[in-house]
């Protein structure tokens, strides 16, 4: 399994687009910045939804309405983050595929976070009808929040695990 992953990593990082980023004097930081701009949109709109599920913050409008208002930019943020993230990955793919922190981030925490987010976005239309958030909504909001903090923690740990 590991040799397959490493083989794939080598293949990916020798593609023309990956080598041109790696060899460029200026491209890499801009790819990083793209990843962070996408994450800003994605994480902030997720956090806004989760905190509203927790019943924290301004309650002048329902979490359901907030969620639907943020929906487009929420997913647009993820699309930008994935684009930047994939390019960052491509440049050093053979290192990433053997990095425990990266594998935990991509293989475990992101799928869990995504699943929890889709669940919350779907359920908020029902929970959001209540004047007070039900306990289930609070637990779900907190769980998603913890998962995204976990994703950020795993990401920060990548250089430490290398």
């Amino acid at each position: 399994m590991e040799s397959v992953l490493i083989g794939f990593g080598h293949w990916l990082q020798t593609r023309a687009f990956a080598t041109s980023i790696a060899e460029s004097d200026w491209a890499y930081p801009y790819v990083q910045a793209t990843h962070f701009v996408g994450l800003s949109l994605w994480i902030s709109t997720n956090v806004a939804l989760d905190l509203s599920l927790l019943g924290i913050g301004n309650k002048s409008e329902s979490p359901a309405k907030l969620s639907s208002a943020l929906f487009v930019w929420n997913w647009l943020g993820l699309a930008i983050a994935i684009t930047g993230g994939f390019l960052l990955f491509s440049v050093n793919a053979s290192m990433y595929v053997t990095n425990v922190a990266f594998l935990t981030k991509l293989g475990l925490l992101i799928p869990l976070g995504l699943a929890m987010h889709i669940f919350n976005q779907w359920k908020v239309r029902e929970w959001g009808l209540n004047p007070e958030m039900p306990v289930a909504a609070r637990i779900a909001g907190l769980t998603e929040l913890v998962l995204w903090v976990g994703v950020a923690s795993a990401a920060v740990s990548i250089p430490y695990a290398a």
């Binding site: 890499y28 930081p29 800003s40 956090v47 806004a48 409008e61 930019w73 950020a152």
Partner: protein, 161 residues
């Protein structure tokens, strides 16, 4: 004088142990990144609403009231964690002109954020959001993108951080 201050900051035993212990250095970084995402993202969404391209089912005021408390809470966490990271290498950051550029961009971005927050309930009472308000929103967006670029360029170009 500034360098002397930086040196004593960097030699502070709390700062040394915070930045030389792997878990606390990583935790500081996590707080800095996560709060940056919340700070920039919530500001950007309100800016995009002022421009009329996001969250149109809500009034700008409704959205701002929901998001701006998180913006300022995130700014507090971001400044605190940023200061701790800066303190660990203060002597190297102080003369770094790219780091100065980052700080100045962030200061302007925060100032524009305050202007937008102040303006939103006022613009909302007008029949249409004035053009200069949209210019403010574009400037706020551009400044945050600029701050992120400056932030990644500091380690990329100067090897600090």
């Amino acid at each position: 004088m500034l360098l002397q201050l930086a040196r004593s900051l960097q030699n502070n035993s709390f700062i040394i142990s915070l930045n030389s212990t792997a878990w606390s250095a990583a935790a500081t970084e996590i707080v800095h990144y996560f709060s940056m995402f919340v700070l920039v993202g919530t500001t950007a969404i309100v800016d995009l609403r002022v421009l009329g391209v996001a969250a149109r089912t809500q009034s700008p005021t409704q959205l701002a009231e929901r998001l701006f408390p998180w913006t300022w809470a995130a700014l507090a966490f971001n400044v605190l964690s940023g200061f701790l990271m800066f303190a660990g290498d203060a002597v190297v950051y102080i003369p770094n002109s790219l780091f100065h550029a980052k700080l100045i961009t962030v200061l302007f971005a925060v100032a524009f954020g305050i202007a937008v927050q102040w303006g939103v309930p006022r613009w909302d009472r007008l029949p249409a959001i004035p053009a200069w308000a949209k210019i403010l929103a574009v400037a706020s967006l551009a400044l945050w993108v600029g701050a992120i670029i400056a932030g990644v360029e500091v380690p990329a170009l100067t090897g600090v951080g």
